[in-house]
Subunit: 530 residues, 2 copies
């Protein structure tokens, strides 16, 4: 492993993206994925400036069990004219319990004088005071030098002075930020080279994609001596976004042999990029380098026959290095090997060299491909995948109940609150049951009605709770052709699982996911049909 | 004007993108837009290999009145063992009437021997024979050296030999192609520099975005002496796409002062990029550099107050140079300054120094904050923000209709398809209307019922179409407390707008967003209440 820092700012700068709005639970989920990817640092937000971020750090301390990553809290240098030791926002950074504090500081004279409205000397003092106070309190301090490249262009001496002030006060890294995103690789490389030589600082790089060069700019900085790279998963961020961290790391590691992550980690890149897209609910970009669904897709024709001779003639890299697949057809994220591995993980030790098992694997793969073509995504719905697998394995998925019909009515008067009422007709334990449930929404009402209908037979379901519900419209051009994908997360109080439904009608998709969630709950509890 | 060629291949290499399928009429429309942009060359397709492309060149000769651009026909060198003069595909290039012919040729020994299955000497002869035949017939010939960078890496001498063969036979340009897209700027620059020095050829560059560096690679090539740049509008293309031509030209022209297009042309870049996206039916990418809808959008409140001081502190370039606009996103990070700027942008010139306006701004800000606390997010719903603003401005939001009640029923038998039926009761034009609509989902049914109920009064709504629907569950822990946020995008055929609804019940939230979408459509169309 090289000593390059991989510093992720999806949860802070990435969250500045238009239309992206993360709950605390979303942030915790993303942090888990980032840790699994193996990044060194996860910038969680700005505690103190934003109650949601304060809560994130409080819950992260209790709930997140990070194995690789260190959490970083982002914040500003103390106020002009004040003292770091008594600044409430600086105190909030300490209170966050984060071991790393990343301080943003001005390094552009125009910004100091016109946006911050203080003197150049006081700005330097703010850097010195805040960095040394926080290091004195035992924190590792990184400094984000905001608008550094523009600042360097307009007043090189002052920009360098800010870097020196940070380093002399104990900052471990000074990340140079192209905040407005307008720079190009040549100039970025020259500036970083000068900063490294002149100040001796450990330099980091933080780029935005306004010239389409965020990744190339970051690489130019690393070539020039930067040893800390910042970026966001899927390139989320304000305006055109930040440097796409996965593209950047893949380039540095797979093309230039700089080992930023443990060698096997990038093999999860595609899965993790898509899992995070599910959390943010920002549609995955099919043309995204390395991890996009089209990144290794070839239109049949001239290429197809040559690819059969030697795939490497037509691909820049073996897609397995980033967990992606070459595709000649529409849809197949899954290969037989990954289904075999997944089955083993779920406790079904299928062996591809055994003939019966191999036939089962083929059937499962065919079903997965057919369903993914229709909009299913089993990456995000382990429980539905397990039910699919059990259906192909003789006798391992019993019928707990049979649905005859369901109906849900929602109405409202004027601007009044809407109410939903559902009626469900099922057969269970040899009896026909007709039950009605109410709810503050149609899915809630269906959930209540279904539980009431089967609770007498299966009291075990009393402990199940629907804890999350996600909806995505696929192929959204022209409403009527669209298909709705619903993901439902259900908890039994100790663990949780996710099921999926896909249908043109949002309530049909929701119903299918609900039935799967209850069925899986019964399987998991070891219940047999009554 | 510099003598750099701007060579567009949207209609040929761009059309290789997964899911992109252009009719001849589409291609003619795109060619018109490209000519208006002022590119030098438009590669129209491969006549002879593809009947659609043959037809394109035939119709282009009759129907297109190009003012700036020259059409180029793409094709391959003659078959191994044959003669250019009698090769039917070479004849098809002549028949296309295109003044420029761009020939693709192998320059990688592995591809010559294993994909083309001929000898290295014969491949050189194919280049010489085809280029000299076409130049002898009065055509200008450009050569695309396929897999050039990989070929150079594996056998530099042979790759250079192909370039020399083309130049000596009369090719005007030799475009070096990173066909598999795996290269990085440093190596691209070194290779181009070597080719320019060694062969004296006029060198072009053709990059793909597999490392996220297509634009940076193309710029490195220009720095090293390439004087012909190839790319596609919106970066369309196979896998991760080609170099985005507009980003590349904007970087070269606005950042480096190389004049590729007449100075005023780039001011149409945003409009033309979106017009071409309408033709291809590929959704525009909001984070696209320069021309994306988010490219100059600002969310943070901290930035907004500084932007009032000096917009250039927070943008890398004045967006008017590319025909784009700065947009302020209203969000819970917003302050009064961003509301003031946003109002001005929408055509309501509120002035914070005027007492009445200041009071309005305070009320709007308070309403925004209160609503965002309940789950609204106005940065994603400009139209709902404008309605909110109009409600605070005396007389600027009329009542078009009043909702008495609505109801929607969805039902299904067994595993059958679910159907939805909605009934809406509204008062409009002094009458009470009760109408029912059906749909493949509850929102679709509500949409149909609402339109039916008001269409007699407001026939203007016939042209409105719901084009996207997004759902997000907020604070998802413990289902019953959750709030649902719905975003609806509606189109009137020329533009589109987004409205928002937030409620515990997903259908109530959807209904609210629907009512706003129709109301905004009527306001926008200048309709007065009847």
């Amino acid at each position: 492993m090289s000593d390059l820092h991989v510093y992720d700012t999806t949860l802070r700068d990435g969250a500045q993206q238009e239309g992206l709005n993360l709950s605390v639970a979303d942030k915790l989920a993303i942090a888990g994925h980032l840790d699994e990817l193996g990044v060194g640092y996860i910038e969680g937000g700005w505690p103190g400036a934003n109650p949601k971020d304060t809560e994130f750090f409080a819950r992260a301390a209790r709930e997140l069990d990070l194995r690789h990553a260190t959490l970083a809290a982002f914040g500003a240098t103390r106020r002009a004219g004040g003292r770091a030791a008594t600044d409430p926002l600086v105190q909030a950074l300490l209170d966050s319990q984060a071991q790393v504090v990343t301080l943003v500081a001005k390094s552009h004279t125009g910004h100091v004088e016109r946006a911050l409205r203080t003197t150049l000397a006081e700005n330097l003092e703010m850097v010195r005071d805040t960095v040394s106070f926080l290091t004195g309190e035992g924190r590792r301090v990184f400094l984000d030098a905001e608008h550094f490249f523009d600042g360097y262009r307009s007043d090189r001496a002052y920009a360098l002075e800010v870097v020196r002030a940070a380093v002399e006060s104990g900052a471990e890294v000074v990340a140079l930020c192209d905040t407005n995103g307008g720079f190009l690789p040549g100039e970025v490389g020259e500036v970083v080279d000068d900063v490294v030589r002149t100040t001796g600082a450990r330099v980091g790089i933080h780029c935005h994609n306004d010239t389409g060069c965020a990744v190339a700019n970051s690489m130019a900085a690393v070539d020039a001596g930067a040893t800390h790279v910042q970026g966001t998963v899927n390139g989320y961020g304000e305006r055109t976004g930040n440097a796409d961290l996965l593209t950047l790391v893949a380039n540095l590691q797979l093309k230039q042999g700089r080992e930023l992550l443990e060698p096997h980690r990038l093999q999860d890149a595609t899965r993790i990029a898509h899992a995070i897209a599910e959390v943010t609910n920002v549609p995955a970009y099919s043309r995204q380098p390395y991890v996009g669904s089209s990144a290794f897709a070839h239109k049949a024709g001239l290429h197809a026959s040559a690819i059969k001779v030697d795939p490497d003639l037509y691909q820049h890299l073996d897609p397995k290095h980033v967990g992606n697949d070459m595709r000649m057809l529409v849809s197949d994220m899954a290969g037989r090997a990954s289904i075999e591995l997944k089955s083993r993980e779920l406790g079904f030790p299928l062996d591809a060299s055994d003939e019966t098992d191999a036939a089962t694997l083929r059937r499962v793969l065919a079903t997965v491909k057919e369903k993914e073509l229709r909009g299913y995504t089993f990456d995000a719905a382990d429980a539905s995948f397990e039910l699919l697998l059990r259906r192909e394995l003789e006798g391992s998925l019993p019928d707990f109940f049979a649905v005859e019909s369901w109906r849900v009515i929602t109405d409202a008067r004027g601007a009044g609150e809407a109410l939903s009422e559902a009626t469900v007709k099922v057969r269970t334990a040899g009896e026909r049951r007709v039950e009605t449930g109410e709810g503050n929404g149609p899915v809630n009402a269906l959930d209540h009605a279904l539980r009431t209908a089967i609770a007498a037979t299966y009291p075990e379901i009393a402990g199940l709770e629907l804890i999350d519900y996600k909806v995505r419209i696929l192929d959204a051009a022209h409403g009527t052709d669209a298909v709705t994908r619903v993901l439902i997360e259900t908890s039994d109080g100790t663990t949780s699982w996710t099921t999926i439904g896909v249908a043109p009608n949002i309530l049909e998709a929701s119903w299918d996911a609900l039935v799967e969630s209850v069925t899986y709950g019964l399987v998991r509890a070891g219940v047999t049909p009554r």
